[in-house]
């Protein structure tokens, strides 16, 4: 009997263990990811030296002078790739074999070999984790796409080649122009002690400017004016909450959409705060010429108090604290929200879903509104997501610049033709430009699309449009002609059309209403260590204040922020600023 009861116990234990393990197994795999903080290993040097010495025996290096000169015989360059699941390929093609790999081979004589390819390009996502492991284990290719933080680690580990001279010698004039189109910050952010250590993949800072998005069909219905001042916006928010804009007789609409991360390109608070001249998570110059952190300035407190007031009046979704951008967007798509602060691309997602559900829905972007007579400026961040660094031992560092030269020349250079562009960028509905291993983008590209399309809409002359613009224009025309299922044309019209969101960006650019982050160096030492904690604390305190915590908690937050590393960071940032 004794053994029998023991057996019963065992069986019970086993069953409990099943429940326990299967419940926990979902989380178990995630445990390791946080621990992938890498330290550059010394092995790389040895490995690379070995390969270098075995290969250098061949003697003659293929000569390839000039920004677009061809290697003959072809050379091999190793790199790695971080892709995402929007990469689509034609039948029989893949990341190693596509129009760009062939063109790069034909025109430049460069054969790119990827040591690995990872899908998942978000910050802290799969690509970054895999790269961290590669850096930590010293398993690096010749040309390495990295984040600002990883770049700093590699520079400190003394693994990278100084690219200053190579850039001067091999970057084409057009590449150099693009590198500086968004200001000198992009290159400066890759410069350490006066040496250019990586080539930035420049994007467009102005494309990240914030604006007010309003449902104009609701404005008309409720007889409200277009937003010109902060007061107008507050009035709209109140009316959208209380006056039943969707006309279903229920008080189920939201005034101002917010998401739980507070910041971001859709339903963030950035644009609202900018209207109060508060610039969260950004370094701004104070009256004495020093750099200070925007999140702890007194203007923030005023703006947060206002948000708290809106929340008290029920104008903010009560559940915003648990809704990410995707969830927050459901309200807009379902026609329950008609006002938010966001970026120029909002019509493409999620507003187009609202249009699909309700053909009468109409959205319009307006410039940020100000709380006083000083115009509101939109904050923007440095638009460099990726840097291309080159290992010291690489034999053909200039290959990086040649490929970038070829990319920009094919895209927007004077020698390219519409056919050539289509072949390499958009043909057959594939976003072929994504295949290019090393890219850099003109900052004004999207703004130019808007200007050219507006011009074409006025004159009816499409001949001046480049292929990308023609593609967008065709979709806009489909919508204007009332074709079924052309909602995406509506979205493009709201972005690039005459009254599109780029009209607002154009105004910002003309009137100098874009405020760049004054700090654009690599993260400082204390930032690397403390930033995550500080940002988390900020998010928590601000969310709670909006949800009803006493506004004085802001003062405590400022003190805590300074104590917990903020003062050190400020000092480091100002040191960087002085040495710039």
């Amino acid at each position: 009997m004794k053994t029998a009861s023991r057996r019963a116990w065992l069986t019970a234990l086993l069953i409990m263990a099943i429940v326990f393990v299967s419940a926990c197994s979902g989380g178990a795999g995630n445990g390791g990811e946080g621990a992938t903080d890498p330290e550059p290993a010394a092995e790389t040097n040895e490995n690379a030296e070995e390969t270098a010495s075995t290969d250098s025996g061949t003697g003659e290096e293929p000569a390839a002078a000039g920004p677009l000169g061809k290697y003959d015989p072809p050379v091999e360059v190793t790199s790695v790739r971080i892709v995402n699941d929007t990469f689509k390929y034609a039948e029989g093609e893949d990341i190693d074999n596509n129009i760009w790999s062939r063109t790069i081979m034909d025109k430049l004589g460069i054969d790119i070999q990827y040591d690995w390819v990872v899908s998942g390009d978000g910050p802290g996502g799969q690509g970054e984790q895999k790269m961290n492991v590669s850096i930590a284990s010293g398993d690096l290719p010749e040309i390495i796409p990295v984040s600002a933080r990883q770049l700093k680690q590699l520079v400190e580990g003394d693994l990278l080649m100084d690219l200053t001279d190579i850039y001067e010698q091999y970057a084409s004039p057009f590449t150099k122009e693009i590198m500086n189109q968004d200001g000198p910050n992009a290159l400066a952010s890759a410069t350490f002690d006066g040496k250019l250590m990586a080539i930035p993949n420049t994007g467009s800072a102005m494309d990240g400017a914030f604006m007010v998005w309003v449902r104009t069909d609701w404005l008309k219905k409720l007889n409200l004016p277009e937003p010109q001042t902060m007061d107008d916006v507050l009035k709209i928010s109140e009316a959208f909450t209380t006056q039943d804009p969707d006309g279903n007789g229920k008080a189920d609409t939201i005034g101002l959409s917010l998401n739980k991360d507070l910041y971001g390109g859709y339903a963030g608070i950035d644009g609202f705060l900018n209207g109060f001249h508060a610039y969260p998570r950004q370094w701004v110059k104070d009256s004495s010429g020093k750099l200070v952190f925007g999140s702890i300035q007194p203007e923030m407190k005023v703006a947060l108090a206002k948000l708290q007031e809106l929340n008290k009046k029920g104008q903010i979704d009560r559940e915003f604290g648990v809704k990410d951008q995707g969830k927050a967007a459901e309200s807009a798509a379902a026609g329950k929200a008609g006002l938010h602060f966001g970026q120029m691309w909002n019509p493409l997602w999620p507003l187009v879903d609202n249009k699909r559900n309700d053909p009468n829905a109409e959205w319009q972007a307006y410039p940020l509104v100000s709380v006083d007579d000083k115009p509101a400026q939109s904050r923007v961040n440095l638009a460099v997501g990726t840097y291309y660094a080159v290992l010291k031992e690489a034999k053909h560092p200039e290959a990086l610049l040649k490929i970038i030269n070829l990319f920009v020349e094919t895209g927007w250079g004077e020698s390219t033709t519409p056919e050539n562009y289509a072949e390499h960028f958009t043909k057959d509905g594939f976003e072929k430009h994504k295949y290019t291993p090393f890219q850099t983008w003109p900052a004004r590209k999207n703004l130019d699309i808007h200007l050219h399309i507006s011009e074409a809409m006025d004159s009816g002359d499409e001949s001046k449009l480049n292929p990308e613009e023609q593609n967008n224009y065709a979709q806009i025309k489909d919508f204007l002609e009332g074709k079924a299922g052309s909602e995406i044309g509506w979205a493009y019209n709201r972005v690039f059309g005459k009254e599109g969101s780029f009209k607002t960006i154009d105004k910002y650019v003309d009137e100098g209403l874009i405020l760049q982050n004054e700090f654009f160096g690599a993260p400082t030492d204390t930032m690397v260590e403390k930033d995550a904690t500080l940002l988390k604390m900020e998010l928590e305190v601000f969310s709670k204040i909006i949800l009803g915590d006493p506004i004085d908690h802001f003062d405590k937050f400022v003190e805590d922020w300074k104590k917990l590393g903020g003062d050190d960071i400020t000092e480091e940032v100002n040191e960087w600023y002085a040495s710039k």
């Binding site: 029998a4 178990a28 621990a35 995402n84 893949d94």
Partner: protein, 294 residues
């Protein structure tokens, strides 16, 4: 057997059932929600109108997903991994657990060996050493990188060896008297008697292999070699919309692809859901009652 229930007992039973029902619903409802989203139209899903029943029923997301080569390849990788991984896991678990279940008198250094194994549960080399071992063993980017690093699941070994120790020693002795060696005893006596434990451990191993995604990401060098969960991770994870670059605007339109994501999540979970009921019956059987008189 008729039992008279006291009031207290009745209240307890009612509360108990209510609580269990509530907890089952907590587990079940998200699954049903995902299922109904996967069968709804894209517009309804993005507007958040779908609760527990499909809105504007359509199976188009399943057609889309099942025609997607990346999804099917990753299912293939996972099936291969489960087939190889679980078989090898089970074989090694049994072979390790059997000697360790012996008494110290028969196997003098038993405790030492048990600790050698248990220490690997408590202390871990860490990601980077593991990565380097996999790299320098040359199994990077092959199915073996997913199978070999965790080939002896020590937790399962401990479970099994304790189960072995719970079996009546008389059965084993009888086998020895009849002339069986360790090998025969293990496979002809011990293993057949351990069906409940083996079923449980098989389940652990299967679920473990099916669900793990991080090793796929780290040890595989191209997305075509990803197992299912690593692939799903790339599909389902939310993109950070504040970092949309000018080259990326078209990708935005795929953010709304919620129904397809739901379909893939559901298809990914389905096989493992189906395994449970089949293994469950083993938990009831295999009890060795009555085989020994004491």
């Amino acid at each position: 057997m008729v039992e008279r229930l006291t009031t207290g007992r009745r209240v307890f039973v009612a509360v108990n059932y209510a609580l269990l029902l509530f907890m089952s619903l907590l587990c079940l409802l998200p699954l049903i929600h995902v299922l109904s989203v996967s069968f709804s139209s894209s517009e309804a899903a993005t507007a958040g109108l779908v609760k527990l029943w499909p809105v504007e029923f359509t199976a188009s997301s399943y057609q889309f997903v099942l025609a997607k080569p990346a999804f099917l390849t990753s299912v293939g990788v996972t099936l291969q991994r489960v087939a190889i991984g679980v078989t090898v896991n089970m074989l090694l678990t049994i072979l390790v657990a059997y000697p360790l279940s012996k008494e110290v008198t028969k196997f003098p250094y038993r405790t030492v060996y048990v600790w050698v194994f248990v220490i690997t549960i408590l202390f871990h080399g860490g990601l980077i050493p593991q990565y380097m071992i996999v790299k320098y063993t040359g199994i990077m980017d092959t199915i073996w990188a997913l199978v070999l690093p965790s080939v002896v699941p020590v937790f399962n070994v401990v479970l099994l060896l304790n189960f072995f120790r719970g079996l009546p020693k008389e059965l084993e002795e009888a086998a020895f008297i009849d002339g069986a060696g360790h090998w025969t005893t293990l496979w002809r006596v011990i293993v057949p008697l351990s069906a409940p434990a083996l079923a449980t451990i098989t389940l652990f191993a299967t679920v473990g292999h099916w669900n793990s995604w991080f090793d796929g990401l780290i040890f595989m060098n191209s997305p075509e070699h990803y197992p299912l969960q690593s692939y799903l991770q790339t599909v389902v994870i939310n993109r950070d919309l504040s970092l949309v670059s000018s080259s990326d605007m078209k990708s935005l339109m795929e953010v709304s692809d919620r129904t397809a994501k739901a379909a893939q999540i559901f298809l990914g979970a389905l096989p493992i859901l189906l395994v449970y009921p089949f293994l469950q019956r083993f938990f009831m059987k295999g009890i060795v009652l009555g085989s020994v008189k004491e």
